[in-house]
Every structure is written in structure tokens, then in C-alpha cells.
């Protein structure tokens, strides 16, 4: 009888002492934190996944670039809020009349973090590393972004034929053919310039070391936990950066990340659940920022499969999908319907196109015209993994299923895990599936050529998941790649969108803005459409 009481008493005392300690400690902690804030500016950036590598050239995912963007710099970069190109390591440039020779004048007096000079030689070394399969600093790297943007490697279709040093501060790119989006491509995060001395020193381990010219230097990387960057005190821009330390911390769960923000453990968080937006409303301790949409979510209709190879059937499906309803129901005001396979902010977006209205009667009569008055069976593929352009994808598909069944299309939903799903689409095994595209550099070519050209409809690795083949569209997209005049390019892309609209190879659904939340004392942070931003102007206010 006595024992349990003693136990309970002990338990009560221990818990009281513990909570007193933790209260005292948390008060102390808070005081300490306050003091630290005044003496050292440390910002913690909460994100869902870790960097894949520290080598931006050999990566193809945003978490790597989010960090590398602040360690490495590119020859040109994008404006703070758009994908318009502005100078960076190159102060200016000129292009020859035939569009095949680009000459860049480089900033002078810039040093890499290891103290070596940034110059034309370094630029040549970096591009040679990416384009030349026999380069000594490659170390099994795949350089998939270089390959994708410049059509292959040296001797295998690379648009960049040579990169030459004209003098120590001038570099010249010779192209095999004019490339209209050349500058946009060069601004991509993957083309950050690495110190050649570091490439030689670290060899294959450049994967986990980082030596660039950027505002921050790599201090440490604890995989799956955090990447810590420290201020580069010798940064070439005056009074920059403002932060002393910038830590990227991995917290995989979206809700936990928000709790960590509210508890002061992190200062910025990306990938907020749209449904959590409400909990932040009217709370002045946070700022809600919206990253401009550089993505399109769409229904990929397999144009090679019966009865989807019938244009009228595809048009009927277009009429049967309530884009506005989907945008409102699943994205909490973050999404807008689109009528083309391009974000509406793009300079090439064809606003004149009249979208397929949500009209079930029209859809039904189109199906009847196509010879399917009683509808047909349709397998609808989906993945349960959310992406920026598809929130709660399974529920989105269920909503679309309800509409399609109203016009007689009998839908069976089949759900796959992400890797298996992508495999399905790339192999053209699906009939219809919900998917999207996230832009890399804001150029329309990056969206339209990738998703609509017949050149990308190769089974096994298709980016054109609809397997839409229209020679006229493919030729126009090819032509637009080398037209240097923007007005003329715009006209070509508008024509492409018109043709695609008529053929209805897919159902363009929505473009989505990503919500980013920061603590109220974070100033100067602007989310960039490409997903990775320069943090050199960010400060923490008292």
C-alpha cells in the first residue's frame, strides 16, 4: 500500500522539478537567444528534404540548388522576382549577328572561397568539365541538366561547341546553331561556377564540398539534418551578405515544420500544407509570401491509346473537367486554372485562346460524334505523393472521376507510388494520368518543347507523356529554338498553343503559387519562381 504512494509522490516531485527546470531553462534559452540575435544574425531555413549533392552542376533537383544558389554564382542570373536575365559574374555580353558567338566580359577582382581567382580560365574549365566526356574532373557525373539544355555533350550534339578564353576577363562561347534561350539557360542554378582548384583538390568528393564565389561558404553538412553556411566576409558585393550564418534544416513533415516555425526553431519554412493557411491568418508574428507560379498541372491523355487517340474524345474530356472547381476545392486560393501548357505569366502565353468550357452536354455530344454515345471504360492513373501542382492528388482524381462518369465514361482509379508512377508515364503505359511540369528557367521552350514535341515522345524516357505527335507543332517548336527575335518567337509559340488547343492532347489544369512562411522579423526575403533564391539581402530585425 505504501509503495505506490511513495512512487506516485516521487513521480510528482520529479515531474515538478523537471518542468521547473525546463521552464527555467527555456526562459534562460529565450534570453540567450535574444542576446544572440543582436550579436549574430543566424537564420534557419526549414525544408522538407535534404540536398542531394553540393555540386550544382551534377544535380537536378531544387533542394541542392536552394543551397548552392548561395555558395555558387552563375555568369548571368534572374531578377529577384522574375526569370528575366541580368548580369552576375559576367558584367555584360554581346552576341554575333548569326547568333552563334557569345562574348562575355567578366567581373574583375572576384575570388573563390579558397582564395583563387575567378577568371575566364575558370569559366572555360567549368564548361569543359560539363561538356567534355573525357574531362578529368567529371568523375562519373551525369550532368543531366547540361545535356538537356544544350542537347548533348561534346561530339554528341552539344549546342556549345567551344568555350574559349579571349583574355583573362573575357570568355567566348561558340555555338553550333543559334539558341534563342541561351542566356536563360546559362542563368540556371546548375551552371554555377566551381573553383577549378577545388575541383582538382577534391576530385569526386566535390560532391560534398563547395567552393564558389557566392555570399556564403559551406561550413558543414550533416546529411538528412542540416547544411550550415557562413558569411563570406570577402564577398565581392559591398555590405553583403547581411546574415552571419544560414542554416538549411530538414524537417520532412509539413505540419511539424510549421510547429517548429511557431516554436522559434526555424525562421523560414517552405512547402506549407495549403490547408494550414487558415491557421496563420490574422497572425502578425508571421509573413505569408507567395512564390510566383512556374508550373503547370495537367491531365496527361495517352494519345496513342484507343479511344483516346480520337480527337473528339479528348475534346470531350476537356469539356468534362471543372478546372475552376478543382482549383478552388484543393488549393485554397493558391491555384488558377490555365488553358495552355504554360504558366500564364509567361511572355509567350496565348491569352486569346478560348478555353474548353465546363459543359457536360457538349462533352456528351462530342462523345456521341466520336462513336461512343454510351461512353467507355477508362483507367485513371494517379500517385498519392503530393506535388506543388497537385495537392491531395487522389482526391483531385476522385473529383474528376465524378465528372467523367456523368458523361458515361466509367473510370477506374489506379494509384501508384511516385517512382512507379513516373515509370508508367514515361513508358506510355497509362491511359490518363494527373501530372505536371515545374519550369527550370522560365523560357517557354522549357515547357512547350519538353511536353509537346514528338522528339520527346520516346517510350521509356518520354517527357511528352501524352505521346502527342503533330509534325507541324514539332517543327514550329524546333524552329522557335533558334529564332533570336523575341517578337517572332512569341508568334511561333502562340501558333503552337493554338494548334495544341485544337488537338487537345491533354487537359491543362492549374498553375499554383507556393506559400512560404517566415517569422515577422525576417526582412528582405523574396521567394523566386525557380524555387531557389539568393539570400544575400535577407536580414533579421530585432
Amino acid at each position: 500500500m505504501k509503495i505506490p504512494f511513495r512512487f506516485m509522490l516521487a513521480a510528482v516531485i520529479i515531474s515538478l522539478v523537471l518542468s521547473a527546470c525546463s521552464n527555467a531553462a527555456s526562459n534562460e534559452d529565450n534570453e540567450k537567444k535574444e542576446q544572440e540575435k543582436t550579436k549574430e544574425q543566424v537564420l534557419i531555413f526549414g525544408r522538407g528534404a535534404d540536398s542531394y549533392s553540393m555540386d550544382p552542376q551534377n544535380a537536378n533537383e531544387i533542394e541542392t540548388w536552394r543551397v548552392s544558389k548561395n555558395v555558387y554564382e552563375t555568369l548571368v542570373e534572374y531578377e529577384k522576382e522574375t526569370t528575366n536575365v541580368i548580369p552576375k559574374l559576367a558584367k555584360d555580353w554581346e552576341v554575333s549577328e548569326d547568333g552563334k558567338t557569345w562574348k562575355f566580359n567578366l567581373q574583375e577582382g572576384i575570388k573563390f572561397h579558397d582564395g583563387t581567382d575567378f577568371n575566364a580560365e575558370a569559366v572555360v574549365y567549368n564548361f569543359e568539365r560539363m561538356m567534355d566526356p573525357s574531362h578529368p574532373a567529371r568523375h562519373d557525373a551525369t550532368f543531366s541538366v547540361y545535356r538537356g539544355m544544350f542537347n548533348g555533350f561534346k561530339g554528341d550534339g552539344s549546342v556549345i561547341e567551344e568555350v574559349n578564353m579571349v583574355d583573362p576577363h573575357t570568355v567566348e562561347f561558340k555555338l553550333s546553331e543559334p539558341q534563342a534561350n541561351f542566356l536563360s539557360n546559362l542563368g540556371m542554378h546548375a551552371f554555377g561556377i566551381i573553383s577549378p582548384a577545388a575541383l582538382k583538390k577534391y576530385g569526386a568528393d566535390i560532391h560534398e564540398n563547395a567552393v564558389g564565389t557566392g555570399p556564403f561558404k559551406l561550413e558543414s553538412w550533416i546529411p538528412n539534418d542540416s547544411v550550415t553556411l557562413v558569411k563570406n566576409v570577402e564577398y565581392w558585393k559591398e555590405n553583403s551578405p547581411q546574415l552571419d550564418k544560414l542554416i538549411y534544416k530538414v524537417i520532412p513533415d509539413n505540419t511539424s515544420r510549421l510547429t517548429a516555425l511557431k516554436n522559434g526553431e526555424i525562421d523560414i519554412m517552405v512547402s506549407l500544407n495549403p490547408s494550414d493557411l487558415k491557421s496563420l491568418e490574422n497572425d502578425n508574428s508571421y509573413q505569408l509570401l507567395l512564390r510566383p507560379a512556374l508550373n503547370v498541372g495537367y491531365l496527361s491523355i495517352n494519345n496513342q491509346k484507343e479511344p483516346l487517340n480520337n480527337i473528339k474524345v479528348r475534346q470531350a474530356i476537356n469539356h468534362a473537367i471543372d478546372k475552376k472547381g478543382i482549383a478552388d476545392a484543393f488549393f485554397y486560393g493558391l491555384a488558377e486554372p490555365v488553358k495552355n501548357m504554360l504558366p500564364s505569366e509567361s511572355w509567350a502565353y496565348n491569352h486569346e485562346i478560348e478555353d474548353y468550357e465546363y459543359n457536360l452536354d457538349k462533352a456528351k455530344s462530342l462523345l456521341a460524334e466520336a462513336g461512343y454515345p454510351n461512353g467507355f471504360e477508362l483507367e485513371f492513373a494517379v500517385t498519392s505523393n503530393s506535388r506543388i501542382y497537385m495537392q491531395q492528388p487522389t482526391k483531385m482524381v476522385e473529383a474528376m472521376k465524378a465528372s467523367l462518369e456523368k458523361i458515361g465514361v466509367n473510370v477506374k482509379i489506379v494509384s501508384y507510388e511516385w517512382a512507379a508512377y513516373i515509370d508508367q508515364l514515361r513508358n506510355g503505359e497509362h491511359s490518363i494520368g494527373l501530372i505536371g511540369w515545374v519550369g527550370d528557367n522560365g523560357d517557354p521552350d522549357n515547357f512547350l518543347y519538353s511536353m509537346l514535341s514528338k522528339n520527346n515522345a520516346v517510350k521509356g524516357a518520354a517527357q511528352n507523356h501524352t505521346f502527342y505527335v503533330n509534325d507541324e507543332v514539332s517543327d514550329l517548336l524546333m524552329k522557335a529554338k533558334s529564332v533570336m527575335d523575341e517578337q517572332e518567337r512569341t508568334e511561333i509559340y502562340k501558333q503552337v498553343q493554338k494548334l495544341v488547343h485544337e488537338d487537345a492532347p491533354s487537359v491543362p489544369l492549374v498553375e499554383v503559387k507556393e506559400p512560404v512562411v517566415t517569422a515577422d522579423y525576417v526582412k528582405g526575403y523574396i521567394p523566386h519562381p525557380t524555387g531557389a533564391e539568393n539570400m544575400d539581402e535577407v536580414t533579421l530585425e530585432d
Partner: protein, 334 residues
């Protein structure tokens, strides 16, 4: 005794071979291609084909399996397809993080679970018994992710008492020596670091430890109930021994064998099953490491990761078997 241990270790070989075949077949049977995942869904067809070739994925499956096994036999766990790093090197810090979390959870689960079970058996059919067993039932039934999120919401967001994620305060990082940060901070004499690491451990280890705690409490109770009805307990009490001694010295020793068995099994559950807790609490552990590897079809990491966990599991259960003989002299291994 030593021949028994040798025999048990030899038995490990067919277990691990069988397991490696099962894991290998399953992960190769599920659709999805590592080359596609690594290059991103916007990669070109040529790049995917080349990478597959480079990673040896075009070889026949049997050949792939044997080249993997021959690597293991020479002590090489392989190289991650995704990061191109040696798995041995990569997995150690993750494993340490999980072991620290698991040990803390087990300590909490054993201390609370065993004591609650004992008292519930002692005060059978009392309010304490009913409450403890109801709580245990709830404990077994609660989904870990929900419980973890609730803990974070109450103790971090609302009360601000404890940190919600990670192993330490990223602003004042602790230097890792062994990877068990509590031990490391003690070795370094870094007491504020120790306190910080301990605070970070509390919520995840309670979340992870709740189910084992509830299971241990229920097993302890039923095992104690059986023992408490035996004659020698009545004799002990008749001798005038206090309740405490009867329970903890005489009864518990005989009731402990099934509890020990279940603890051994639970270690395996916690090692592999920590993935949810690790995800919610941003814990860089081995569960998440293997889970991510499944997502990116990083075959060598999945295989070697599961192999390591299985080996640890088998060894823990070997230790449990040996402990039986310490508890009960009648058990003799030959």
C-alpha cells in the same frame, strides 16, 4: 554456453541469406527505375539509358545478386546509387541517431511499463489497474504520427517547453564523436549541450516508446498475476516481508522471462519501425534513410540497410536468450 553461442551465430547465416534473397527479389519486382528517379522526371532518354548501363542495372538479376553478395562477404556493403558514397560510411551516423532514440524510448518504456504492470497486478481490479490497462490499451492503439503531432502541438507550439524537431539546436550544434550525442556531450563536458540534446530526445522517445510501454505493461501484468498466485509468494508474505520486496525481489524475477522476450522483439520493431517518428520529428535516423532509399529505388542501400537491422535484431534476441539463464538458473544452454 560458448558452443551454444557459436551455434546461434551460425544459424544467423541461413537467416541472412534467406532475407537477402527475399529483399532483393521484392525490391526488383516493384516497378520504378533508379536511373529515372536520380535524373529527375525531366531527364532525356539517352541520359537514363546511359545511367542504367553505368549502374549495372542492365545485367541479369542473378548476376546482380551475386555481385552484391560477394561484396558483402568481403565486408563491402556497397555504394549508394543516389549519392555514390560508401554505404558503410553513410549509414553509421544514421544508425547511431536511431540507436540513441531507440534506447531512450526503451528506457522510458521499460521503467514505466514494468512498474505500471507490477502495480496493476498487485492492486488487481483496483482503480489503478483499470486506469493503467485502459491507458495501455489506448497506448497500443494510438497511431504514432498522430500522437507525435499532438505532443508537438502541446509541448512545443502551445507551452513552448520543448523543441519539436531535430537532435539539437542548430544554432549551437554539438560536435558528434560516436554519434550518440548524449554520450558525446558528456565526454566533452558540454553540459548545456547535454541538456539541449536531452530536451530534443524527450518528445520523440515518448512517441516511439508509447506502444512498447503499453505492450510491456500488459505483459508484465499478466505474467505477474500468474506468479503472484504461487505458493512461495504467499510464504514470503507470511514471513512478514514488505510488499515492495515480495514484488520486486521475489515475484518479478520469476515473472521477467516473458517480459524480456517481448523487449527483445520490440527492439526490432523500434529499429525498423522508427520511420514515422523520425519523419515527424526530423530525426536523421536509419528508418528514414532506408525509407528514402525505397522512394528513389536505391537498391544497395535498401538491401544493406535491412541486412544491418536484421543482424542487430538477431543479436539482440541472442542476448535476450542468454539473459534467461542469468534470471533463471534452471535454464542451461548447451
Amino acid at each position: 554456453m560458448s558452443s551454444y553461442i557459436t551455434r546461434r551465430i551460425l544459424q544467423l547465416i541461413p537467416v541472412l541469406i534467406g532475407m537477402s534473397i527475399i529483399v532483393f527479389s521484392i525490391i526488383h519486382a516493384i516497378p520504378g527505375d533508379p536511373a529515372t528517379v536520380i535524373l529527375g522526371d525531366q531527364a532525356t532518354p539517352e541520359a537514363v539509358a546511359e545511367l542504367r548501363e553505368e549502374m549495372g542495372l542492365n545485367e541479369p538479376l542473378v548476376k546482380q545478386y551475386f555481385s552484391y553478395v560477394s561484396g558483402i562477404l568481403t565486408g563491402d556493403l556497397g555504394t549508394s546509387l543516389k549519392t555514390s558514397k560508401s554505404i558503410q560510411e553513410e549509414i553509421t551516423p544514421y544508425l547511431m541517431a536511431t540507436i540513441e532514440l531507440m534506447m531512450m524510448s526503451m528506457i522510458i518504456a521499460i521503467i514505466i511499463g514494468v512498474n505500471a504492470g507490477i502495480i496493476a497486478a498487485w492492486k488487481r481490479a483496483s482503480w489503478f489497474d483499470y486506469t493503467a490497462m485502459l491507458v495501455a490499451l489506448i497506448g497500443v492503439s494510438i497511431p504514432v504520427f498522430w500522437f507525435g503531432l499532438m505532443e508537438q502541438w502541446i509541448f512545443a507550439e502551445k507551452l513552448g517547453l520543448l523543441p519539436s524537431t531535430g537532435r539539437m539546436n542548430a544554432r549551437e550544434p554539438v560536435e558528434a564523436l560516436s554519434g550518440l550525442l548524449l554520450v558525446d556531450t558528456i565526454l566533452q563536458g558540454n553540459w548545456s549541450g547535454f541538456w539541449d540534446v536531452l530536451k530534443h530526445l524527450i518528445l520523440p522517445s515518448i512517441a516511439l516508446g508509447t506502444i512498447p510501454m503499453a505492450i510491456i505493461a500488459r505483459i508484465t501484468r499478466s505474467s505477474m498475476l500468474e506468479v503472484l498466485e504461487l505458493d512461495y509468494i504467499r510464504t514470503a508474505r507470511a514471513k512478514g516481508l514488505s510488499g515492495f520486496w515480495v514484488l520486486y525481489k521475489h515475484a518479478l524475477k520469476n515473472a521477467f522471462a516473458p517480459i524480456l522476450t517481448i523487449i527483445g522483439m520490440l527492439v526490432g520493431l523500434l529499429l525498423g519501425g522508427a520511420v514515422l517518428t523520425e519523419t515527424i520529428f526530423g530525426w536523421p535516423g536509419v528508418g528514414r534513410y532506408i525509407y528514402d532509399a525505397i522512394g528513389s529505388r536505391d537498391y544497395p542501400v535498401i538491401q544493406s540497410g535491412i541486412l544491418i537491422i536484421a543482424t542487430i535484431f538477431v543479436f539482440v534476441n541472442l542476448i535476450v536468450d542468454l539473459l534467461y539463464s542469468l534470471l533463471d538458473p534452471r535454464i542451461n544452454y548447451r
